[in-house]
Amino acid sequence: MNILLILAVVFGTLVLVRLANVAALASKLSGENEEAEQESANRWNSIGMISFLIIGLIVMIYMMTQYLPLTLPKAASEHGEAIDGLMKINWIVLFVTFFITQILLFTFAFKYRYNKNRRSFYFHDNNKLEAIWTIIPTIILAALITTGMKEWNDITNKSASMKGIVVQIYAKQFDFTVRYAGKDNKLGGSFFRRITDTNPLGVDSSDAATADDMVAKELVLPKGAEVQLMINSRDVIHSVYLPHFRVQMNAVPGMTTRFAFKPTITTAEMQKETGNPKFQYVMLCNKICGVAHYNMQMTVRIVEPAEYEEWLKTQSAVFPVEQAVAPAPADSAATSMAK
């Protein structure tokens, strides 16, 4: 293998040297023919420009027909539909701009190749033109900014409202744990100094809110209900990424981040929608977190509300309630952490 590699490099270099020698010799022989040579280069490269434009656009459109079906299916959450709608508007604006500018660029390059009998047009300033291409982008961007911000505010306001089923996503190298808040919809306090082998989330057993908390190794949520994710990490930064729901939020050690969303399509419905009976929603880690980063994920299931209630009953309590743990010194900090 080594020898092959070396041979390839040596051979490649020899070919290039040969080519360059021939080229140098040819230009020496032709002498004053440099002008003719440049003329031929101008012709071929300008044709190259227009060909690149046409072939490039065709290949691009072909790729879109082939690859777009492989991208994410339609959004499975309420705000996700809004994001997808916004994305469509943006794509339209961007594609129009893309086509206009690229076509102008490569067409001009093709059209205005050198001709020694011609002078270029001495044109170096025009305030009207400058104003046009300052003002039009400004108006378009103003529209994009306002629609984008409105959507962003709607999404983040929901996360700030603290409404919905409270679920903690607890990240560590290299897995997620889910904690459901139970009947009181309140998570018991937790603190990293309480973490032991039997209490991997460092939950405070003396907190009254803890008693009905449940843990799971799978995220199951009811369709149509608002969900409030409370996201924590105990070691490095991770990111909770639920691509099908258009949900992503980092898990940061030392703080709680939140994301609220409402699933609208059950797993079973999505299996029909995609025509893939094995389809599963996933939660991925999307912030580099260590060597096994690529293998940190969890299955997500969206089910009908009744099925969710049934499933929840079968989940284990976070903590056998009898098990008492001495309160840690930083209790107040711990409780506020979970708020």
Binding site: N2, G56, F108, R113, Y122, P137, I145, R193, C289, Y294
Partner: protein
Amino acid sequence: MEVNPNNSMAHGAPADEHAHGHSHDHHDHDHDDNFWSKYIFSTDHKMIAKQYLNVAIFMGFLAMFMSLIFRMQLAWPDAKLPFLSDVIGKWGKDGKLDPGFYLALVTIHGTIMVFFVLTAGLSGTFSNLLIPLQLGARDMASGFLNALSFWFFALSSVIMLSSLVIESGPASCGWTIYPPLSALPQAIPGSGLGMTLWLVSMVFFIASSLLGSINYIATIINLRTKGMAMTRMPLTIWAFFITAILGVLSFPVLLAAALLLVFDRSFGTSFYLSDIFIDGAPLDHAGGSPILFQHLFWFLGHPEVYIVLLPALGLASEVISVNSRKPIFGYKAMIGSMLVIAFLSFVVWGHHMFITGMNPFLGSVFVFTTLLVAIPSAVKVFNYITTLWRGNIQFTPQILFAIGLVSTFITGGLTGIILGDSALDINIHDTYFVVAHFHIVMGSSAIFGMFAGVYHWFPKMYGRMMNKKLGYIHFWLTIIGLYGTFFPMHFLGLAGVPRRYYANTAYAGFENLININHVVSIFAIIGGLAQFIFLFNFYYSIKNGKKSSQNPWKSNTLEWTAPVEHIHGNWPGAIPEVHRWPYDYGKPGAKEDFICQTVPYSETPESNTPHDH
């Protein structure tokens, strides 16, 4: 355009004196130079430019080679690549790339490309070469600081490369080195000695960058020749000037961020660390915030994008104008848009952090400022296109690359509008969509600008011409390789594939995307191989290229009035005086289609317009 009399008075006289001193003794002076003082510890800006370029080419090939290794891993995750163990030893045992080393490759590839190639390589080469030559100065304001700047850069390169060969491996937490991952060796082996070397290397790099930038700024402000008003400077110089200011204002912040990280790593402080339980034990760190690091990092990180891009845009402005034999359209608008971009670049850093848990209101502010960047960028694009319109284009390799730059700048800029919109960013943040975006808008554009610069100013650097035919082949393979690599990546992002994943086959869901990964990797290999054509052309032409004439591109700027043979002080006699702006190409009535900046209006009555006096 009126020259500032104070300026020309202040500098004309001493500069001339200097000139005479040099013209008498430069002959023997050149002979006194031994190998060390001429090639290694040179204080001549032209030699320093070449030093930067050669180191950057070396580093660039290394980083490109790394990317080819991990592209092969991503496209053919199950294949055994027997040569891997030969190249990277234990990290490629049995032809399988180690997942930890995959992350190291990604990290070092990013670091080298962003800092060592596109920052130092681009600014270091062309600011050094062109600032004195295009301004009509004998050398940089301080030749010694300039040499020092290069040597800090060389030292930082050596330290960065040394981290590749240590037992625990190089830094492997991404080029953005977010703590706590970068602070805790327990979290990833690369955060041990590898990370320490990374930080030390960057400290020298930042020192190098600052010394360079201060020198560029001082030279541009003080050493312009008589008649070279700011409004007569070529756009290249404007770009280098603004870039240097960005560097001076933002790199110190990275140094601060790195220093605090060093404290957290080595001295037990808690700037970025809090509430961490790792390796079976809680850590003592309390009260820090990892988000603080991200604010500091991106306060440099975003201007950095423009530190990379602006010089490329400046070089492209010059190359497009010269080779389309037409003045750059909207000279003042070009300067204005660069200034606006530079200002905005300091108030947009938060768009890298929309989903870090930063206050959502802050997110909205950053959406607003970020999308504003599109306006000056659009102005620049339309001005380039208008410059080509009704031009008389000589297709040299450099203008091909400059046109390629405009194309990738458009393509990548447009996807930036999506990423800058926080609501849309939620689902594509940290996916391959981002990778595609910045490789097109920053990576490809900047490297195209750099190639345009190399092909254009190679005769100025080495006194010989590069082979044009190889240049054409290089360009076409490169642009096909780049678009073929990075365009399909958008689809991976839209399919929700996270970046920095060693493999996408670990679970169901992404297996149908392997075809896209094949396409991406094959084009990456084509584009990578094409660079060897450049490498060969570059070094072959240094020795064997056709001898260059003094002004091979029929250009107006001052560097082409200097003799082909390099001498200390650049011009043998008095330094040239400037009488007009640099873009009088194709002026109606003129004898030729270009008028050098040194030609006074009194000599060109046939082409003067009512505004010229």
